[in-house]
């Protein structure tokens, strides 16, 4: 999968490119609107990460031109502008997703994957990670053959982590997608922490391999890891 990153701040662009390459994408970087536009014309990309505020042609202009020509390449718009009108303008101009700076890198990766996955086949009804088995249809969970009793919220939380195995999930993503909180200001961080702690107790306690990990300063991840 080849991604184009259009971002004028070099430090940010470099970090994004390095991070996305580590996440398994190949990337190209443009620092101005013109350069980005030129690259888009020159070679095919699977997805564009586009900064709104660019010197020269800004992100919205590029986006509008692209869409006017019928290009359907998914675009994630990055911006420091987070007023509701800005979001609406961004999405109406043809962005597929919208991320407010400063964003968690984990969230960007998750959004990119989810956009690239849109056309992917339906997911299986049962999922496993190590000896954890989750039955999505029957909403049942078992670890090493023994059933684990979860509350509905804990189940949703586990499934959300399970859908992005090995990837870090931020509290903001959980608040939005699991708690369905539309207002980013609502303080849910400790609510989420407490729920994760409970989930971890139910899923990991008594097992040598811990599955639910905390990544300090970022969020949580579901992956096999022996306790250090």
């Amino acid at each position: 999968m080849r991604l184009l990153i259009v971002e004028d701040d070099e430090k940010t662009a470099r970090a994004l490119a390095a991070g996305l390459e580590r996440a398994g994408f190949s990337t190209a970087v443009a620092h101005t609107g013109e350069e980005g536009f030129f690259l888009l014309n020159a070679e095919p990309f699977d997805l564009v990460v586009l900064d709104w505020m660019l010197p020269g042609r800004d992100g919205i202009e590029i986006l509008k031109t692209l869409r006017a020509r019928g290009t359907k390449t998914p675009v994630v718009l990055l911006t420091a502008r987070d007023a509701v009108e800005d979001r609406v303008l961004g999405l109406e101009s043809g962005a597929d997703d919208y991320l407010v700076k400063p964003f968690a890198f984990a969230e960007l990766v998750a959004r990119i994957r989810s956009l690239l996955r849109r056309a992917a086949p339906a997911e299986p009804l049962k999922k496993t990670v190590a000896d954890l088995l989750v039955d999505l249809e029957g909403r049942r969970v078992s670890r090493a053959g023994k059933p684990v009793e979860l509350t509905p919220r804990e189940f949703d939380l586990l499934v959300y982590l399970l859908r992005q195995p090995g990837q870090v999930v931020t509290r903001a993503m959980l608040a939005q997608d699991v708690w369905r909180e539309t207002n980013r200001i609502t303080p849910l961080d400790n609510v989420i922490d407490v729920h994760v702690a409970h989930l971890r107790r139910k899923v990991d306690e008594g097992h040598p391999t811990k599955l639910i990990q905390t990544v300090r300063g970022v969020g949580f991840v579901l992956r096999e890891e022996a306790t250090v």
Partner: protein
């Protein structure tokens, strides 16, 4: 002509009016006297002479007198102008002289002084706010810098990893602070209307308690809801939820283990009242007035340790006032605190 006239000073214009009026009165008096026979000018020459000398005389006399009278009357204005000229954002504590509070100019000066008073206090608030913001932003920056510099000397990956995590935590804290400040700043601009709709209050209350139940449980605190099913109010669900989550989280945080938190809602005479009451230590009277101010903290060390920036209650107040409601605090030391929200009823 008109431009020339308007470009004269008010004092000069008044003097000219006086002079013209004086001369006019002089001519009219002569006319009346002559017509009534009180004054009989011997010849038409003496009539002309009287007019020719008397009119300019009256004009000059009244003009000079008018010039001085106008000067006296306008003296307070001159003083106000001089004082106003010396005003600037830095010297807003000065006030205009009020010569006589009962006349028009005194009234003008008084009103102007009131405006100055308001300007002075908003400027002071702005200064304090800027200082507070800088301080609040500097605190996480200082932590990040210290952690980063110390980590640079480390070779142990586990410790480096931990340092990065700690720095990211501070980044998250700064980001949250900025988001909240932006929200409040935008609220001041009043360009973000609330989405008001009539809805059942109970649903919001149970939503909030459901979200926070586990957090309360950690401290063995019971969240109980006392609200009639049919109680309706006018609110924006997201804003009300934001306010209540802040209030209930505060109650959980600041009241001791095992003490219940009560959410009550009922229809008052002119508003729907929602109360969040805890059985904590209470809030001293000297803090009660200021507790809704941005960055105001009752216990500075403690609330920062808990990750708070002193914006929670400012946001509660902002959210409730956006919906046309109000919020107040009733608290007594040792007897807990009750935050009382008033929302509009359907009828209002």
């Amino acid at each position: 002509m008109r431009r020339w006239w308007l470009s004269r000073s008010l004092r000069m214009r008044l003097a000219v009016w006086y002079a013209a009026t004086g001369a006019g009165v002089w001519v009219v008096c002569l006319g009346v006297a002559a017509a009534s026979g009180v004054w009989k000018p011997g010849t038409s020459a003496s009539l002309l002479l009287t007019l020719a000398i008397g009119s300019p005389g009256a004009l000059l006399l009244c003009g000079v007198a008018g010039y001085f009278i106008a000067g006296r009357a306008l003296a307070p204005v001159k003083a106000m102008v001089q004082r106003t000229r010396s005003l600037s954002a830095k010297s807003l504590s000065e006030r205009l002289p009020v010569a006589n509070p009962h006349d028009e100019l005194g009234e003008l000066a008084t009103v102007f002084n009131q405006t100055l008073q308001q300007l002075e206090s908003s400027f002071a608030e702005l200064r304090r706010f800027t200082a507070d913001v800088s301080h609040e932003l500097r605190t996480p920056l200082t932590a990040m810098r210290a952690v980063g510099e110390v980590a640079l000397r480390e070779r142990n990956p586990a410790i480096l990893y931990d340092a990065l995590g700690s720095m990211l935590e501070e980044v998250g804290r700064m980001n949250q602070l900025i988001e909240r400040l932006l929200l409040l700043a935008r609220g001041d601009d009043d360009d973000m209307p609330a989405h008001l709709e009539a809805g059942p209050v109970r649903k919001v209350l149970t939503d909030v308690t459901e979200a926070l139940a586990l957090v309360a449980e950690e401290k063995q605190q019971q969240l109980d809801v006392d609200c009639p099913d049919y109680l309706l109010a006018v609110f924006d669900p997201a804003l009300l939820r934001l306010a209540l989550i802040n209030l209930v989280q505060n109650a959980i945080r600041y009241s001791p283990q095992g003490k219940p938190i009560h959410l009550r809602a009922f229809a008052g005479p002119d508003a729907v009242v929602i109360e969040v009451a805890d059985e904590g230590p209470g809030i001293a009277v000297e803090h009660q007035q200021r507790i809704f101010e941005r960055f105001y903290r009752v216990d500075k060390a403690r609330s920062r340790a808990e990750g708070g920036a002193g914006l929670g209650l400012a946001i509660v107040k902002w959210a409730i006032e956006r919906m046309g409601g109000s919020v107040e605090l009733k608290s007594e030391m040792g007897r807990g605190s009750t935050f009382r929200l008033r929302l509009r009823t359907l009828a209002a």
